[in-house]
Symmetry: C2
Subunit: 67 residues, 2 copies
Amino acid sequence: MTNKIAQLRKEHHISQAELADAVDVTRQTIISLENGRYNASLLLAHRIAKYFGLTIEEVFLFEEEEG
Amino acid sequence: MTNKIAQLRKEHHISQAELADAVDVTRQTIISLENGRYNASLLLAHRIAKYFGLTIEEVFLFEEEEG
DNA sequence: CCGAAGTGTAAAGGAAGCTTTACTTTTTGG
DNA sequence: CCAAAAAGTAAAGCTTCCTTTACACTTCGG
């Protein structure tokens, strides 16, 4: 799973710290998500998508990962 | 956060065990999600939505929970 | 050049998601 | 009614998400 967080953040001209604040997590959480260390929870995914005015599916890309 | 898993499952006439199998988790995980014991991960939410041919937002309802 | 802002890494710990096992209760069909 | 299927509970344990703290590296305006 990948995501467009870093890209969207740049388009919106905001820092990791500002986004972290807006969606109520720490800066390290945003860094880890952007760098693919782990996946967002459903709630956090929702808050991030909502912040950018998009759906979860528009921000998080599920390129049909096989089990 | 609530979800329509039980409802969708009934509409599709499948058991918890069948859904669990289809989305590759245990039956207990489906029970827990349906009964609101915890929230799905983003990946599982995606697999469930995909199974029903819906978006995550159509299956999981984020009634603007305040922090 | 220099400091501040932005981005990054690391590691320990707590909380939440999920599994496994085992057992109980409810629902359904013949 | 009675058995089988479906739905539920409980608890221990592992993994993943997220926090906290602390420190390093890069970039950029003045």
